[in-house]
């Protein structure tokens, strides 16, 4: 790693910790349903209007049905909006109806917090669809993820007795509070900052300009309300760009400073939720332990990714191309990267966006070196638990923490317990389902795609790289990341259907068992800590947790990785 790369990483982590701490404190108050009176006064009319009693805590099954119903309505609304956009206002570029299969894919994509985009935003979607459809779902899908994390935290924190036994909170109140008091204010501030940096925010028609080359054809420059979508795209780890080039587009990510803020925004809530977790369960060390496990895996990934990209392409080196870093150039493998960001900010962004389930990109991952491209893929395949998505990262990691204490319990011959709650047969069955859903979707989906003619037809590059394109797409969809390796022509009925299925089940078939675990935990009494309790806040448990995440990930994906990026790396460096 170069000194500039290490400095950027250190600056990023320091700024993240500094900002995540106060946000974590507020998230804990939200999770504990202890809001200042003035906030409650503002909320009250909303609940009255909707006929909701926010103090009515739900059984996990009622919570799950409310969550599923809300998201299903969101998906249907989003589908209809795309199909009808040609007849609706705020459409200065006169975009027609989105095709049915693409509308299905995008509806599932944005509702599931994936934001996989088979379409090009500026050439397909009206401003109304971008704002009322995608941006609104960016808020709600993020709020849904955080709400599920809250429920699991409450499952650990609640004493399991009295009237609240087995109850996990009110979905409608959680959704309202998270959106109103967390996501909207953060997004508003961030959007203003982005506008200050040069991100556009307007309703103008696309502009036609004569380029400086004075060629015969003029260039059309897309406009739109970008900053307002950009902020929640990052804060909510959504990742769906207004433009096709996403955060590589100068109107989405104009400066080095906006790039740094975008990276911090992606990790802000996932990191803050770790602090909130520690506070709510009454032992802040527990939150630090989870955060430490995430941070160690993240830093390790960055330390592989950055040098891999800085090393450059040996084929170009053999042709005499200068790939060394100097005052005049970043050096390294600059294919598919913005010169204004260089290797460091591109590679770090790639690690952050795939460690979190964001999926925004400021460089094309398809053009990374094989090793450099494998790191983002592995970060997704670990289950999006290395910080992960807003809410989903924490609840994913807590699922692995319970698996870790189960494995430790087997080793020392004790009934496993985590934070005073016994992990028994029911919980272990649910944990197994939650962990295995995504690998099944990724591996079975990849197998179907490489066997089907329609699947192979989308590959841009033959051989190992083509396999990587498909494996990356399924990994991204099923883990709700949404970034694309590029190269794969995925806007076809086959891929829109297959990836839509992977996104929906990768999101909700994981959320359902997580909610069931939370309900089960909330019904159990907290046991006191004794001399025989496995400490879950020290380096030993952090190591065990990291080992569990890596073991599950590697067992699932090493054979598939060997067919794609590993082969490509060996061929390139032979």
């Amino acid at each position: 790693m170069t000194a500039s790369a290490a400095s950027l990483l250190a600056l990023f982590l320091a700024a993240l910790l500094l900002l995540a701490w106060p946000v974590g404190k507020f998230l804990a108050a939200l999770c504990n349903e202890r809001l200042p009176r003035w906030m409650q006064r503002i909320e009250a009319p909303l609940y009255k209007l909707a006929g909701i009693q926010p103090a009515d805590s739900m059984h996990w099954l009622s919570y799950a049905f409310a969550l599923l119903a809300f998201n299903a309505v969101g998906a249907i609304f989003l589908y209809a909006l795309q199909r009808l956009q040609g007849s609706l206002p705020l459409n200065p570029a006169a975009m027609g109806a989105v095709s049915p299969d693409s509308a299905f894919n995008s509806a599932v994509s944005f509702v599931s917090n994936t934001d996989w985009q088979g379409y090009g935003g500026e050439s397909t979607m009206s401003y109304l669809t971008q704002m009322l459809g995608f941006t609104v779902q960016n808020f709600f899908s993020a709020a849904t993820g955080i709400a599920v994390a809250f429920v699991l935290i409450r499952g650990f924190a609640r004493r399991g007795d009295g009237k609240s036994k087995g109850l996990v909170g009110n979905f409608w109140a959680d959704l309202t509070r998270i959106t109103l008091w967390l996501l909207v204010p953060l997004s508003f501030v961030l959007a203003l900052f982005f506008v200050g940096q040069g991100v556009i925010q307007n309703f103008d028609a696309y502009k036609t300009v004569q380029t400086v080359e004075a060629t015969a054809s003029a260039q059309v420059i897309a406009m739109g309300p970008v900053a307002s979508q950009e902020a929640i795209k990052m804060i909510g780890t959504n990742g769906g760009g207004f433009f096709n080039a996403n955060s590589a587009h100068p109107y989405e990510n104009p400066t080095a400073l906006s790039n740094l803020l975008q990276m911090i925004a992606i990790f802000l809530i996932p990191a803050a939720l770790c602090f909130a977790f520690g506070r709510v369960v009454g032992d802040r060390r527990q939150g630090w332990a989870v955060l430490a496990a995430m941070a160690v895996m993240f830093v390790a990934a960055v330390m592989v990714l950055m040098p891999a990209e800085q090393a450059g392409n040996p084929l170009l080196a053999s042709l005499g191309a200068d790939q060394g870093s100097s005052a005049l150039q970043s050096g390294g493998n600059m294919e598919g990267k913005e010169v204004r960001f260089g290797i460091d900010a591109s590679a770090l962004f790639a690690a952050i966006t795939t460690a979190a389930s964001c999926g925004a990109v400021n460089a094309m991952h398809d053009s990374f070196t094989p090793l450099g491209g494998m790191v983002p893929m592995v970060l997704m395949q670990l289950g999006e638990v290395v910080f992960g998505g807003v809410g989903s990262g924490l609840y994913g990691m807590l699922i692995f923490a319970m698996l870790a204490v189960f494995i430790a319990g087997l080793m020392i011959g004790r009934t496993p317990e985590y934070l005073g709650k016994k992990i028994e047969v029911r919980e272990m069955k649910l944990i197994s389902i939650a962990i295995l859903v995504t690998p099944v979707l990724v591996l079975a989906g990849t197998a179907v795609a490489v066997m089907a003619g329609a699947g192979k037809a989308g590959i841009a590059n033959p051989g190992a790289h083509g396999f990587s394109e498909i494996l990356y797409a399924l990994s991204s969809a099923a883990n709700n990341n949404g970034s694309a390796f590029a190269g794969l022509s995925a806007n076809t009925p086959f891929y829109n259907g297959l990836l839509g299925l992977a996104m929906w089940l990768g999101r909700f078939a994981v959320i359902v068992p997580v909610l069931a675990i939370a309900g089960s935990l909330a019904a159990k009494q907290r046991l006191p800590v004794t001399g025989g309790t496995l400490p879950t806040h020290g380096p030993l448990f952090v190591s065990l947790l990291i080992g569990t995440v890596l073991l599950v990930g590697l067992l699932n994906y090493v054979p598939a990785l060997a067919l794609g990026p590993v082969v490509e790396h060996l061929v390139l460096w032979k």
């Binding site: 799950a64 049905f65 599923l68 299903a72 049915p100 299905f104 009934t415 909610l515 159990k524 009494q525």
Partner: protein
């Protein structure tokens, strides 16, 4: 075609709703309040 893709959305919803209902019956949680520690 709209009916096909809207039907697909509905089918996906039914799958996870059925999953939720099924998981609720999976080893109904026991009250471990008086459970002994090993």
């Amino acid at each position: 075609m709209d009916l096909v893709w809207m039907g697909a959305l509905l089918a996906l919803w039914v799958v996870v709703a059925a999953m939720a209902a099924g998981l609720d019956r999976l080893n109904a949680p026991k009250n471990v309040a008086g459970g002994e520690r090993p």
